[in-house]
């Protein structure tokens, strides 16, 4: 164990021009001087897997809700014996996590509680999941029903005659609060099954590691992973639409036109109409899908940016015409899953071992669809509706002269929006101008400068002293953070041109690197390049047909990037710590997804 430590957050200065950044975030999310000793005793790692970019003040809500809700299940619902929640901070605009252990003396007391509570969920998994889908759909429907309208000139006559005694500002403010509540609620649901799902997966994983010493992590993933996965449906819908386009002989219209024109032209023919009907059919709910990860107000969703799925269809059509297969080979994946499972099972020494294997695999397969699919229902579908409604609200403010553009609203914290709404309603009620249009532009400009300054620097991989061993199961599973990877980050300056990460998807290739820092840059990818990035989102799937391999800074075996790469048979090395800064676009690199290594050749 080396004595090396990461820098203290108290010594990690904000870039120039970012003075005053702490005021942009809630007080409980920043490091305070009077708590220095306590905070420095904790190990924090940067979660750039989920939050790779600097937060605008409003967007910080996503980490607050998500990580808080993760904690409530570990700490208060399941009483996971050794693990509480995960403490989180924003420092210099980026987010850092610190797993919270349980006092060793209290661990034993939690066991019976855990057995009963979690046991109930495992025993009733399918019916509880069915109920979960209903609950989530209800939240989505409730969010969809919310509207934000400009305040009317006068209160509706009906309200007067019915003696309502309220004005529309009341519902406007209530609707905003309701949206925040619903977002909070859906993040609770997000974690309702997730940690238990990972626990069952880890149990099978651990069993395999003991029964088959040295078994590749990938084998375990392949035995458990589902074949029909909701998370892949959006991409599959595009593939079907692309096939249909070729079948209906619409390839020229689709390839030679932008979306509006193409749809106009197709509207004039029976074949075109048939295709448009299929396109409309596919939208709900599958186009509630983001090319980001659902955590940022800037995430673009297909349904709001139809040119994105249409662009993917164009490139699929091109590949179909070249005779390529664009679909995931589901039959092959299913057959391979059965072969692998059967052969490992046959390698076990006796019936007892095989029974344990069957039991653990069985449970892992029951729980795992949730682990794979929740992402579509929460990060994609629910958050798509949430962000759309928030942009509708912002557009209302733009119309009232509060903001210049829709993105401006997200420079305010969520509780500040209540003030803005009140300012708007108050001016309307009194018959005077709101103060916001006069006051806000300077403030927005100031905040933009701060955010831009923060974004000019990269986050630190971690803060303070690393633990002797990383034992927290969810940290390992979700973030791919292990004792070795933390040590790897510490010594990363010594490794020269060799990077080490998780062997996430096997295969060896050499190729030119393309470093992508945001989903908006995906268009730069050239056929045959190797995608190097902080983190990928599963919705990047359509570009995976183009690339040779993927390398990410952060992510475990079950990170979304790893899952997608395995599905698409691409080598992937995840959790390298710093590949996206060490590797430059145009570098020749050698990726070995089986060994988890990346070498910069030239």
């Amino acid at each position: 164990m080396s004595n090396k430590a990461f820098i203290s957050p108290y010594d990690h200065q904000a870039p120039e021009g970012a003075e005053g950044w702490k005021e942009l975030y809630p007080y409980y999310m920043t490091f305070h001087d009077n708590l220095k000793e306590n905070e420095e005793s904790k190990f924090f790692f940067c979660d750039s897997q989920h939050w790779p970019n600097v937060f605008k003040p409003f967007d910080a809500m996503t980490v607050e809700f998500a990580v808080k809700c993760l904690g409530q299940y570990n700490t208060r619902q399941w009483l996971i014996p050794p693990a509480n929640g995960i403490d989180f901070k924003i420092h210099n605009g980026y987010c850092y996590m610190s797993p919270v252990g349980v006092d060793p003396e209290k661990i034993a007391d939690r066991v019976p509680q855990f057995m009963e509570r979690a046991g109930h969920y495992f025993q009733n998994w399918d019916s509880l999941i069915e109920n979960w889908h209903k609950k989530v759909k209800d939240v989505i429907d409730e969010m969809e029903a919310v509207t934000f309208e400009p305040l009317p000139e006068v209160i509706d006559m009906e309200w007067v005659k019915n003696g309502i005694g309220l004005d529309p500002t009341y519902h406007m403010i209530q609707n905003y609060d309701k949206m925040i509540d619903l977002c909070y609620k859906v993040w609770m649901y997000h974690f309702e099954f997730l940690n238990l799902g990972y626990a069952a997966y880890l149990d099978f994983f651990g069993y395999c590691k003991e029964a088959f010493p040295g078994i590749p992590d990938l084998s375990v993933a392949k035995m458990v992973q589902g074949v029909e996965v909701d998370l892949f449906r959006p991409d599959e819908e595009l593939q079907k639409l692309s096939r249909l386009a070729v079948k209906l002989n619409l390839q020229d219209v689709i390839q030679n036109n932008e979306i509006e024109k193409a749809l106009r032209v197709m509207g004039g023919s029976a074949e075109g109409k048939e295709w448009i009907a299929a396109w409309e059919e596919a939208k709900y709910p599958w186009f509630n899908f983001t090319i980001g990860n659902g955590f940022y107000s800037t995430d673009k969703y297909w349904i709001d940016h139809l040119e994105i799925p249409f662009g993917y269809i164009q490139s699929y059509v091109e590949r179909i015409l070249k005779g390529e297969t664009i679909e995931r080979p589901t039959e092959k994946i299913a057959a391979e899953r059965e072969r692998i499972t059967g052969e490992y099972r046959d390698s076990l020494p006796d019936e007892d071992a095989q029974n344990a294997f069957d039991q653990k695999l069985g449970l892992a397969r029951v729980v795992f669809p949730y682990v794979e699919n929740h992402n579509f229902y929460i990060e994609h579908w629910s958050m798509c509706v949430f962000w759309r409604k928030m942009r509708e609200l912002s557009a209302l403010f733009v119309g009232q002269g509060f903001f210049e553009e829709v993105d401006d609203m997200f420079y305010f914290r969520r509780e500040e929006i209540q003030q803005l709404l009140f300012d708007y309603g108050r001016g309307w009620a009194m018959g005077v101008s709101a103060i916001g249009p006069d006051y806000l532009p300077t403030e927005i400009a100031r905040r933009k400068k701060i955010i831009d300054a923060l974004a000019s620097a990269q986050p630190e991989p971690a803060f303070n002293n690393p633990p002797e061993v990383v034992t927290e199961p969810f940290t390992i599973m979700l973030w791919g953070i292990t004792t070795e990877s933390v040590q790897g980050w510490l010594s990363s300056e010594d490794t020269g041109n060799n990077l080490k990460g998780m062997a996430a998807s096997p295969g060896k290739v050499e190729g030119r690197a393309r470093v992508i820092s945001s989903s908006d840059d995906l268009g730069q990818l050239v056929e045959g390049e190797i995608l190097v990035t902080r983190v990928t989102a599963p919705s990047w799937a359509p570009v995976f047909g183009k690339i040779k391999a993927t390398v990410t800074d952060i992510g475990g075996m079950m990170s979304h990037a790893a899952i997608v790469c395995r599905e698409y048979d691409l080598p992937a090395v995840t959790g390298t710590g710093n590949a996206s800064t060490k590797i430059k676009t145009g570098d020749m690199i050698k990726v070995d997804g089986g060994a988890g290594t990346v070498e910069i050749l030239a």
Binding site: Q359, V470, G596
Partner: protein, 362 residues
């Protein structure tokens, strides 16, 4: 004695004949029948040995000598062993046995396109050798790069004689193996021009894990690996995924290579750069594993396989099998495993124990 088969080409032996071929010979015959890439060759059957003993009236003499040996007296053991072997090497061969061996060697030479001078390996294949509980591989002889009829005949006799080395006699006495039942077959097989050779085992011998294949390999002929003269490259491969989990490349300072002029095998030093280089490419490792997996499936139990990469054959077809035997150590052992905890207990156990320590892949 007509109708008795003194030699049998691998391809023509039927399962009823296997009893005549000894472990190695039967294995090669069955692998040939299953179309595994074994070098062509034939077995000198146990009938040949039995006929030799019979015609020379050697059996009684030998049994008598062996029964009187006191193994604790090493000098006596050594001199009796020497006498028996001398007897076997000097007695004339039965004419029909000699003719049939010569004939089969000629045929082999023709098939290989090297008339009369095909280099062959001559190996003993005892009937007791490969009993799962009597692993004494290496206690009998192998003669490599044997060229010409006369040399083949001499090597066959040497193999027979090798049944009676002091070590072999001692071993059988300790194991209570019945001397009267003891027979020997000899394998005569085209030499492989081995660029690299070694052993693959279709389980991990360190822990009995049957989801792995372990390969030891070194430059030149396999003797360097088998005898332990070099520390071989060692590969651990996941059998199911055919993925190399670890590769320990060693410095392999010597290799055994044929000296074609002197018709023998010489040991030579390997220049430093090649000594440190992997003796197998990743593709070759995977190819060996694929074949090993098929062989294991064929025999329905873990196998210990000798193979070589033939320098004369193109990549993709250059893996050649020399022999396969059942793995004898772990298949006799009951693997001590603590019973896995399942259900909620299992999950609890997983959460309570630092999984980070189980995490390492290599």
């Amino acid at each position: 004695m007509s109708g008795m088969k003194y030699t049998l080409f691998f391809k023509e032996a039927t399962p009823e004949d296997y009893v005549l071929l000894g472990g190695k010979g039967a294995s090669l015959a069955s692998m040939s029948a299953a179309d595994f890439p074994v070098p062509m060759g034939f077995s000198v059957t146990t009938h040949a040995y039995a006929q030799f003993l019979k015609e020379g009236q050697l059996l009684e003499t030998i049994l008598d000598k062996v029964s009187r040996i006191d193994c604790s007296n090493t000098d006596e053991l050594a001199s009796n062993s020497e006498e028996i072997r001398e007897l076997i090497l000097s007695k004339p061969l039965p004419a029909e046995v000699e003719n049939e061996i010569k004939e089969s060697y000629r045929k082999l030479c023709e098939k290989a396109g090297i008339p009369n001078t095909l280099p062959v390996a001559v190996r003993s294949s005892a009937t007791a050798e490969d009993l799962p509980d009597a692993s004494f591989a290496g206690q009998q002889d192998t003669y490599l790069w044997v060229v010409g009829e006369a040399e083949v005949l001499r090597s066959v006799r040497k193999c027979w004689a090798s049944l009676f080395t002091a070590r072999a006699i001692n071993y059988r006495k300790n194991q209570d193996i019945d001397e009267t039942e003891l027979l020997m077959s000899v394998v005569v097989q085209k030499m492989v021009n081995a660029r690299t050779a070694g052993v693959s085992m279709t389980m991990n011998p360190i822990n009995g894990d049957r989801s792995k294949i372990v390969i030891d390999s070194s430059w030149g002929l396999g003797e360097a690996v088998v005898s332990g003269e070099v520390t071989p490259d060692n590969f651990l491969v996941d059998k199911i995924m055919l993925q190399i989990i670890s590769a320990n490349i060693q410095e392999k300072n010597i290799e055994h290579v044929p000296d074609m002029v002197n018709k023998c095998v010489v040991t030579r030093e390997i220049e430093s750069e090649r000594a440190k280089a992997p003796s197998l490419s990743d593709d070759e490792v995977i190819e060996i594993c694929k074949i090993s997996k098929i062989i294991e499936k064929h025999y329905k139990c873990p196998q210990d396989i000798e193979w070589a990469i033939d320098a004369d054959l193109p990549a993709g077809e250059n893996v050649t099998l020399l022999q396969s035997r059942p793995e004898t150590v772990w298949s006799q052992k009951t693997i001590e495993k603590k019973k896995a905890v399942t259900g909620m207990e299992g999950i609890l156990n997983t959460l309570m124990n630092p999984i980070g320590t189980k995490k390492s892949d290599s």
